[in-house]
Subunit: 275 residues, 2 copies
DNA sequence: CGGGCCGATTAACCTATGTTGTAGCCCCTT
DNA sequence: AAGGGGCTACAACATAGGTTAATCGGCCCG
């Protein structure tokens, strides 16, 4: 692992990009966030950033590169739960738990920020809007996992594969890593198989069908989506679950006040539901 | 829907039970939580508490009864994402989003508490430890979904089914709804099928195998697990993912201080990682 | 008492996907 | 240049699980 100074201004950090699509953050929040990303670490491909069963680890913020979050059965069968892209958090949840129930492994060389879990408490106490924004980010991740569950449970191999490709395309464009329907997919077919609950042979067959039908092109790790519309329709892709829309105004309002000490009296209860 | 006064003291509320297995909460936090559960609503079976695509809804806390969280494809195929048991939150995440990406439907008559989403902001601002505890609860739920993803992707029908039964048994015992390996499973085989990504016929076959091998017994909706150990081993069940262990002490410590105003200066940074 | 509906059950048959095995390609290392 | 490892590709065969359809029992309701 290599250490390196933070090279980008916080405004160009993928996490910032992602969060600010959700909330407008204040200068104080911005500077706190940038402090969290102060310690930058580089790791080579195929490094475990977190291991199933592990007790304790720093929280990481992915800044550049790809990783996978995966779980394994004792006999070696493996499921990729999600792809970790720039702007995603690693082990955020794990700090709330005694030990990790999944592993995170890099696919490419990555650049991650790293901070000790104690700072999560600090964050919740002092920066409630930031805490809520991170909860939002976690919720969005869970929504992605739930959608993948729908894929594995109820979509055919072809549909699943199409769906995943469209999802990655959408997620990558948020952080400016995809343009014109093509992007780099630094992934072996084995990993795709483990993500989609298929055998490696069947993933191969399925990709072939997608190529033969002209929907996608593959050149090494570069994938080109020729017709996003049609691919999305094959995969029954509905981007609602990615929750790319800004927070509802009513919620913004609920967060807009200054943080308050709790003092035993309950905040104004005049907004009770219809009696 | 029927309104009813809160009948139980907060200490016996399932949410309280669940959260206090995680954090020791103060009296102030206790009274705020009890205030959130002030408005109680009863709903009959087969009622939608939340609908995919819906814009806005109160947050609900399940106090009694069962529900399912599910997603549907346009053509009607359906996946049950999770079972909602007493102590679980409904739509908590959805308030952070513009609209819901899943539905929640009751299986039995239920008793839920209901509060407007604005109070989430209030909660984050004034009760950071409570906010963290709810984030923990959300993280735990996502861990359950991820484990189900592993099931659908990599476990056989028999393993999946065994795994789910053990999971429900464990979750129900936390809220005192299972004893001696038996509990009420208010669920049709169609719902089980939708939860496990199987056809209804195959669920039937699989349950038969489990019965024939003497691992479980079914009498109407009552299910009895004769040998939890063995059933868990069939399902490759490892309860790590349920995160039933109390919060690590280091995190308790991080939360133990009084809430602080943020003031632009960063809280002590002396606990940086090894340099 | 006679529908009629819903859910469980089972049989017979079918297919999507898994398994096994072989080959070729690319890229590294020596 | 030879060898080896990792990955893609594809053919041949095997099977877990899906589909269709029929039966049965319980329960509600007129």
């Amino acid at each position: 692992m290599t250490r390196a100074p933070a090279s980008r201004a916080i405004e160009h950090t993928p996490l910032w990009l992602k969060l600010s699509s959700y909330l407008v953050l204040s200068d104080e929040e911005k500077s706190y966030l940038s402090d969290l990303e102060r310690t930058i670490v580089r790791e080579p491909p195929r490094t475990d950033l977190l291991q199933q069963g592990e007790r304790y680890r720093d929280v990481r913020i992915m800044r550049d590169g790809w990783a996978i979050r995966h779980k394994a059965l004792p006999d070696g069968r493996r499921q990729v739960v999600n792809f970790v892209l720039p702007g995603d958090l690693i082990g955020m949840y794990c700090t709330l738990f005694e030990s990790a129930d999944h592993s995170v492994t890099t696919l490419t060389a990555v650049e991650v920020a790293s901070f000790p879990p104690e700072r999560i408490g600090e964050l919740f106490r002092s920066f409630p809007r930031l805490a809520a924004a991170l909860a939002w980010s976690g919720a969005r991740e869970e929504a992605i996992v739930a959608e993948r569950l729908l894929s594995l449970g109820r979509r055919t191999a072809l549909e699943r594969t199409a769906h995943l490709i469209v999802e990655l395309l959408r997620r990558l464009s948020i952080v400016n890593m995809a343009a014109d329907g093509h992007f780099v997919l630094p992934v072996t077919q084995e990993i795709l198989a483990d993500a989609l609950g298929l055998s490696i042979v069947h993933i191969n067959r399925t990709l072939r069908r997608l190529r033969d039908s002209g929907l996608i092109e593959l050149n090494g790790q570069r994938i080109t989506v020729n017709d996003v519309r049609q691919l999305a329709s094959v995969g029954q892709f509905d981007e609602l679950y990615l929750h790319l829309i800004r927070a509802p105004r009513r919620l913004e309002r609920a967060f807009s006040g200054a943080p308050q000490h709790h003092n035993g009296t309950r905040p104004d209860g005049e907004d009770r539901p219809k009696a």
